[in-house]
């Protein structure tokens, strides 16, 4: 096995050249190039993270704007509803007043009409009384030949009518 047979004659050369080559690899590549490569990766990762953060911020802002818009929209809708409600209430009120007025005039007319009817009835009743008195006088004269006075006839008629 040359590894053992040659050990004593080659170990110094192996050590020397390995230290030189591995020293080159460690100091030039390991210490010089690797950190730069890793920096590049780190920078890229940072850039990606920043971009993502910016996108997230933009998204949040958009969400906020939408929320604000929604609130404004809701407020507008409420205001509109209020206006509509007010108008409705006003219309209702005016309708009610008008109706009340009309109702009142109808009531007065009704009352007047009733009063008129009552008056007419009273008049008619009085007329009936007068007619009945005259008729009673007439009947009494013709049947019994009694000349009843107007007053007596009247009280008799009244008596009968009251008794119904």
């Amino acid at each position: 096995m040359p590894q053992i047979d040659q050990m004593f004659e080659i170990w110094s050369s192996q050590l020397f050249w390995l230290l030189i080559t591995f020293g080159f690899v460690f100091f030039v590549i390991g210490r010089g190039m690797v950190p730069k490569v890793m920096d590049t990766v780190g920078m890229r990762d940072k850039q990606i993270a920043d971009d993502l953060a910016a996108a997230q911020a933009a998204r949040d802002a958009a969400d906020e704007a939408e929320e604000a818009w929604r609130q404004r929209e809701n407020a507008n809708r409420e205001a509109a509803q209020e206006v509509v409600g007010k108008a409705k209430a006003k219309a209702q009120k005016s309708t009610e007043t008008k109706l009340a007025k009309v109702q009142a005039s109808i009531d007065t007319q009704m009352e007047e009409a009733e009063a008129r009817i009552e008056a007419s009835r009273a008049e008619a009743a009085a007329e009936i009384e007068a007619v009945a008195t005259e008729a009673a006088q007439d009947i009494a004269q013709r049947l019994a030949g009694v000349k009843a006075t107007k007053t007596a006839a009247k009280s008799a008629v009244k008596d009968v009518m009251n008794r119904g």
């Binding site: 040359p2 590894q3 110094s12 390995l18 230290l19 591995f22 080159f24 590549i29 990766v41 890229r44």
Partner: protein, 261 residues
């Protein structure tokens, strides 16, 4: 048939041969530029070229940049999961370790032999994996004693141990702790070596089988070749897994040093 018998030595691929400066010395120690050192250099250069693709630093990455970033992200996630946020400062070391071993393992499997270039898998040498293990272990010791001082020794007493058991458990924990660098180094070295030997042995079967005649070729050579294809796929998997295991265990040991238990 002896004349046509293939000379496939499964161990020859691990032979370290000096290419330049056989007599270069530092304080009496030889530092010849060997085939092992050549493939370490190729691995480092290739890894550098690969990483250049990740340096475009575009906001929207291309495929290459994406690949590099997925590797750094993989190590970052692993350390984050195993060590926590303190694990970040070990990303350069664990990343270098993982990628260097991964590229070395994969390069050693490449069929460059077709064009006459023989790849050398330096991770199949414990002189190399041992140095990796010692580095990881040294980091664990330094970080542990730096952060916790002598309190670091409480690592050997798992929390909730009854007092009489401490005297039994502490030595066991201590020994298992000391074995960590060895297991770390041997695991990678053995896994890489075994696969390469197996492939070489099977390739020897294929060559010897066909040399012995068409009958042996069909009987031995063809099944061996099919097995080689399967094992090559398995070895690619092992190359990745062993690099991952080395990096994972290193990060787990670092976690021990950072947080004790």
């Amino acid at each position: 048939m002896a004349a046509t018998e293939a000379k496939v030595d499964p161990m020859k691929q691990f032979l370290v041969e000096p290419l330049l400066g056989q007599d270069w010395n530092i304080a009496g120690y030889n530092i010849a530029f060997t085939n092992s050192a050549l493939w370490m250099t190729i691995t480092a250069v290739l890894l550098f070229v690969f990483m250049l693709g990740g340096m475009k630093r575009e906001l929207v990455p291309g495929r290459w940049q994406m690949t590099v970033e997925s590797f750094t992200g993989f190590i970052d996630d692993m350390l984050d999961a195993n060590v926590g946020k303190e694990g970040r400062k070990y990303v350069p070391y664990i990343f270098s370790l993982f990628m260097f071993i991964l590229f070395a393992n994969l390069l050693g499997l490449m069929p460059f032999g077709i064009v006459g270039v023989h790849p050398f898998t330096f991770t199949s040498h414990f002189t190399v994996t041992g140095i990796f293990a010692i580095m990881s272990f040294a980091i664990v010791l330094i970080v542990g004693f730096w952060k916790h001082g002598l309190h670091f020794f409480s690592l050997f007493v798992p929390s909730g141990t009854p007092l009489p058991m401490v005297f039994v458990i502490a030595p066991i924990e201590f020994v298992s702790f000391l074995f960590r660098p060895f297991s770390l180094a041997l695991r990678l070295f053995v896994a890489m070596m075994a696969g390469h030997i197996l492939l070489k042995v099977l390739s020897g079967f294929v060559i010897d089988g066909w040399s012995a005649g068409a009958g042996y070729g069909v009987l031995v050579g063809v099944p061996s070749f099919i097995l080689m294809i399967g094992i090559s796929a398995l070895e690619i998997l092992v190359a990745g897994i062993q690099a991952y295991v080395f990096a994972l265990l290193s990060s787990l040991y670092i976690n021990d040093a950072e947080h004790l238990h």
